[in-house]
Symmetry: C2
Subunit: 392 residues, 2 copies
C-alpha cells in the first residue's frame, strides 16, 4: 500500500530523545537524560493491598467504563487538593481527569488550535507540550526565561506585536527543563498581561508538590481563577507514572469542550487507576510518599550540584532548583548536540538543550535529571561529563 | 475570557446519547441503550489477586511510564492472539497498545486525515468512530449494509465515483449497531476492491470473540495482511472496559506513525493495566470469562428476540445476531427520534438509529443492547417498547 498520511503525520519526526533514551538504557551507561520519578520510592506493598481492595470493593465500577469527566470520588478529591492550594470556588464541572497531563496538552491543542495559530511558549519549553502543539499545526512565539521564569518585559513586547495569540503556555514552578520558578512578581505581571491582552494562560504544574527548599508560591490559578488560567496537574510524579492520570482545571465552558474532545480521544481514563489513586490519597499515603521523595531528591540534587562544582565549573554554569527533577546546565561556546557524539563514547546521557526549543535555536545547554539515578550514578555521570567538557 | 476555540471544537456537539444514557440511569428506568459489557460477570476476586500480584512482582515496571508501543509481554501476547486468529507473520513492530480502541480510531484519524478528506463508512456505522473522524474534519461517504455486511456492489460504485478516499472503515463482525456480520464472499470482494482502488481497510473488531452461534469467519487481516488492512482490537469486551486497553495491528510504516501520534496524545497507556491484562490472559482467565459471557449473552439475546416476537412483531423487524452486544430494530414508518419522547414517559431507553448515520439520514431504526440488562429487564423493556410501538 502506498500510505497517504495526513500532513501533520508526514511532518512529525521521530523524537531523537526517544532514541537517546533507548541507547542510554544499555549496560554500562549512566543516564541523566530521563524525566522519570524513581519508582523504587513508591510503597509497592501498600499499593498492592489497595489494588486488591479496590477491585474487591469497587469491583463493578472499577472494571467498567467510567464517565468521560472522571470518576466522582477522584474529582471530589481533586477539588480538595486544589482548594488546599488556594484555588477556591471550584466546582465539579471545573475539573476533568485526563490520561496523564500529556493528554491535557493534547486536548487543549485539539480544542484551541487551527493550523497556523500562534501560541506563546517559554524558550526553553517542555518537549511534550511542543510535540502536542506541533501536531495541531501551532506556530510558536518564544519568550526567553531566566531563573525567575518567563521574562515579562519581553512577553509584553511579543504580545504587542502578535495580536492573535491563542494562549500562553508556561511551566511556572520548577521548570522542565530549566529548573527555575516564576517569581511572585512575574506571576502577577504575567496575569496582568493575560488580562490586558485577553489571552488565557495554561499553567502546567507537574512539580510544585516536590519542593524541598524555599517557600511555596501561589499558583497562577489561585491568583487569577479559571477566567484566565487553565491548570494541568498530574499524578505521575506524586504517585505513579504507570497510572497515566492527570487532571485539568478550567472554566466550565472550556471543560465542556475538553470533555467532548476526550470522548472522541479515549472515551474515559481507566476507572481502575482512578479509584486506586483516590484510595492512595485518602489513606494519606501520597503525603507520606511525598516526604520520602522530597528527602531523597534533595539528596540527589545536592550530589549533582556538588559534582558539577567539582568537575564542570570551568566550562559550565547551572541552576540550583528548589524542587522538581532537573538541573539546567549552560555550556558557553560548546555545542551540546555535537558533544553528545562524544558522550556516547563515555556512555553518559543528557538531553541536548536544543530539544526544548521549537526551532532548535539554542545549542549550548543540557538538561540533567537527578530523580531517577542514584547518588553514585549522579556523581559518576557528572564526572564523565566533566571529562567531556574539559576537552570540548 | 472570550474563549476562542478551534473550528473543530466549535463544531463539536454534545452527544445526545450521553444525555440519554444519563437520564436512563435514573430509578425506574430500563435502559437498552448502553453498549457496555456486564461487569458482574468479571471474576473480581481472581482479578483482585492478580492486581496485588502484579504490583508486588512487577512493582517498578508496572508503576513507571512504559514504552509508547506498549509493554513487551503484552505485545507478545497480542501477537499470539492474532496468530490464533490466523493473522500470521506479524512482528512486534506491527502492533501498538492503545488507550482503548477509541484511541486507535483517534490515532488513525490523526495520522490519515486532513480536513475535508473523504472516507467510506457503513450506513449505519459505529458512533465513536464517526465522532473521532468528525473531529479531524472527515467527509463521510456512506455505503448501506444488510445482514451480510456492507453492500459490495454499492461500495464499488462509490469507489469509482470518489477517487481520493483515505480509507474504508468497517465493523465486519457483529456490527455495532446493526448486529450483522460481513459474509465470507463479501469479505473477499471488499478486499479485492481495496486492492483494485488502493484504499486501505480499517477492520474494527471489538466483538468477534463473543460469538455464541455459527462458525467463525476469517478476519480481513488474516485474509489480506497488513499491506491492506489495519485491525483494531480491544480488551473492553473480553476483560474489562475499566482497563482502557486496546491494540492496533498494521504495517510497520503505519504503526511507526501511530507511535509518534500516541506519544503526543498520552505518552503511553497505563503499564499497570497492561500487566494486569497480560496476567489475566496468561492464567487462562480470559478464556474462562469468555465462556461465561457467551453463555449469558446468548440467553439475554434469546430473551430479547422472544420478547420482540411477542410484543413488537406487528410494527417492527429485527436482526438476530450470532454474537456481540446488539439487536438492530427496523420500525417502518415510525420516527424513532420522535418516539423517544414517548419512551421517556414509559422509562425505557434505546438509541435512536439516526445517531449512527453521519448526517442522521435515517429515522426508522433503533439499537437495543442485551449485554448489560438482566433477562428480566430485557423482557420488561421490550414489553414497554411494544406498547409504545402499538400506538405510534
Amino acid at each position: 500500500m502506498n500510505w497517504k498520511f495526513s500532513e501533520r503525520a508526514e511532518n512529525a519526526k521521530t523524537s531523537e530523545i526517544r532514541e537517546l533514551l533507548k541507547i542510554s538504557g544499555a549496560p554500562g551507561w549512566i543516564s541523566l537524560a530521563g524525566g522519570y520519578p524513581d519508582p523504587a520510592l513508591i510503597p509497592c506493598e501498600q499499593l498492592a493491598e489497595i489494588a486488591k481492595e479496590v477491585v474487591v470493593n469497587q469491583g463493578r465500577k472499577s472494571l467498567q467504563y467510567g464517565a468521560t469527566e472522571g470518576v466522582l470520588p477522584l474529582r471530589e478529591t481533586l477539588l480538595r487538593i486544589e482548594a488546599e492550594g488556594n484555588a477556591n470556588n471550584l466546582e465539579l464541572d471545573n475539573v476533568i481527569v485526563t490520561t496523564g497531563s500529556q493528554q491535557g496538552l493534547d486536548l487543549l491543542a485539539k480544542i484551541f488550535l487551527n493550523p497556523g495559530d500562534k501560541i506563546i511558549v517559554e524558550a526553553p519549553s517542555y518537549l511534550g507540550a511542543l510535540q502536542a502543539f506541533s501536531f495541531y499545526g501551532a506556530k510558536f512565539i518564544t519568550v526567553p526565561l531566566d531563573e525567575n521564569g518567563i521574562k515579562t518585559d519581553l512577553l509584553r513586547k511579543k504580545l504587542k506585536r502578535n495580536r492573535k495569540v491563542k494562549f500562553i503556555y508556561l511551566v511556572p514552578t520548577f521548570h522542565n527543563p530549566a529548573g527555575g520558578t516564576l517569581s511572585l512578581e512575574r506571576r502577577k505581571e504575567t496575569l496582568e498581561l493575560s488580562q490586558e491582552f485577553e489571552i488565557p494562560v495554561i499553567e502546567d504544574d507537574p512539580y510544585s508538590k516536590i519542593r524541598f527548599e524555599g517557600n511555596n508560591l501561589p499558583s497562577l490559578l489561585s491568583i487569577a481563577g479559571t477566567e484566565q488560567v487553565i491548570k494541568l496537574g498530574t499524578f505521575s510524579k506524586i504517585i505513579s507514572g504507570g497510572f497515566r492520570l492527570g487532571w485539568m482545571v478550567g472554566a466550565k465552558e472550556l471543560i465542556k469542550k475538553a470533555v467532548l474532545a476526550k470522548q472522541s480521544s479515549d472515551l474515559c481514563s481507566p476507572a481502575l487507576t482512578q479509584y486506586l489513586a483516590d484510595e492512595f490519597i485518602k489513606k494519606g499515603l501520597m503525603e507520606d510518599y511525598l516526604k520520602v521523595v522530597k528527602r531523597e531528591y534533595r539528596k540527589r540534587r545536592d550530589t549533582m550540584i556538588q559534582a558539577l562544582e567539582k568537575h564542570c565549573s570551568k566550562r559550565a554554569k547551572w541552576t540550583k532548583p528548589e524542587g522538581g527533577l532537573f538541573v539546567w546546565v549552560e555550556t558557553p561556546g560548546i555545542d551540546t548536540d555535537k558533544l553528545f557524539e562524544k558522550a556516547k563514547e563515555k556512555k553518559v546521557a543528557y538531553v541536548p538543550g536544543s530539544a526544548f526549543y521549537p526551532y532548535r535555536e539554542d545549542r549550548c545547554h543540557m538538561r540533567l535529571n537527578f530523580s531517577l539515578p542514584s547518588c553514585y550514578e549522579v556523581e559518576e555521570g557528572i564526572s564523565r561529563l566533566g571529562e567531556l567538557l574539559s576537552v570540548a
